[in-house]
Symmetry: C2
Subunit: 248 residues, 2 copies
């Protein structure tokens, strides 16, 4: 697996890629996903855990809306992780996560994830390097457990934006009435820690890449949507699913 | 509140109602719902608990697919209730339900619900009349709690089909490859208890009608979808929601 260095990865689509054509492709993929998700649910054999990480305003919520809205909500669950509660903190960091892993047939989306426990916690030095290292090992084992013991495929997406794009989007949130509710006073302060976030993201991704990370250039939503939808499509197709017979 | 007697309520759309026109109306409603659900989530003040009850093959799953697929899955959660586990049975019957009530801004769908605890349990005489009566009171208090203490609006839909329609649909499940997985050997046995189910449904609905039941004629999916979507639309509109300002 090649080493991930976010600062060397482009945040935009390759030059010359046609936006409208790509959007058409994405729509075709979404129709296929609708069918495949129905089959995933009916067959009840596999499951998907989709992890979405990214800096503030990298388009995590938008991705969920754009890619997963066409799926039957009976088979799709979204969990948006916030700062842990007192009860959650009185357990190991994977305790609350484990409760929201997908059962067979389901697609579970994690909007942020256990990777926050080795990202924001390190940027703010709430945990030391030794603890971080132990957590990397625990994360690898945890993802292995899901994969091997419940036919769960873990798909990890990092929505990669440039700092310029982030600042522009945060600025928009302060101006547009329909977006203000998403703005948090703290966002600009966190943004100033950009370089630390990149450094610790590199470390986390390279230490926890047994289940591989997909780094998604995300300055343009149409390209982001296409890449994620296509990765999910290829994953579901690889299951070679079929409708089961009658239950006895 | 007029007394509910299912056997006297039509299972079909009023004669002369135009199917294609109604479908167009439903589509227009679904677009509005998409916007209103976004607003519900953004405002974070109200929440909806949508309870869907109905006999086997009454179209509960289909309703969820048809009406809620157009909504952002970040704001919609579906819980399909099955027979209680040993752990769930070691608590009161509302314990497991309470854990899946909606937080502010969310739409929570219950595919079947705590009403099973006063329906199938009575048809099979797992509980006596005295216990049922106590449960009715507990259900009324529970629904009141959600309404008064978390701005939750509880919408209760009974999908009302004729027995002929049910038998036809169960038969289809035995024949069509894509539907076989939904068929359960037990379904036909349960269907023979139709009259008991109607009797106990009448009792449950009339004893727990403080939050009113919506009886939805459901032999035709297009009419069912229209009625449910329209009720949800009117409910969300009645909240007079607006986008909140910036969070501090």
């Amino acid at each position: 697996m090649p080493k991930i260095t976010l600062s060397k990865i482009d945040t935009r689509a390759p030059k010359g890629l046609d936006k409208e054509k790509t959007k058409h492709k994405t729509n075709a993929i979404l129709s296929q996903l609708e069918e495949l998700q129905n089959l995933l649910f009916a067959e009840g054999k596999h499951s998907l855990l989709v992890i979405i990480q990214g800096m503030d305003a990298s388009g995590k919520d938008g991705l969920i809306k754009d890619v997963f809205t066409s799926m039957n909500p009976m088979g799709v669950q979204v969990k948006s992780w916030k700062a842990p509660t007192a009860e959650e903190l009185s357990h190991d960091f994977l305790w609350r996560i484990h409760q929201h892993t997908p059962s067979k047939g389901m697609i579970q989306i994690h909007n942020r994830s256990h990777y926050e426990d080795v990202l924001i916690t390190r940027v703010h030095q709430w945990i030391d390097d030794k603890t971080a290292k132990k957590r990397f090992a625990a994360i690898n084992q945890f993802e292995q457990l899901l994969t091997e013991h419940n036919h769960t495929t873990v798909l990890k997406f990092y929505l990669h934006i440039s700092r310029e794009e982030q600042l522009q989007r945060l600025n928009e949130r302060m101006q547009v009435k329909e977006k203000m509710w998403k703005y948090n006073e703290n966002d600009l302060k966190e943004s100033e820690l950009w370089d630390d976030y990149m450094k610790y993201s590199d470390q986390a991704f390279n230490n926890c890449n047994e289940v591989p990370w997909h780094i998604i250039p995300s300055d343009q939503n149409w390209y982001k949507n296409y890449l994620v939808a296509n990765t999910i499509l290829e994953t579901l197709q690889s299951f070679n699913m079929k409708f089961p017979g009658m239950k006895k």
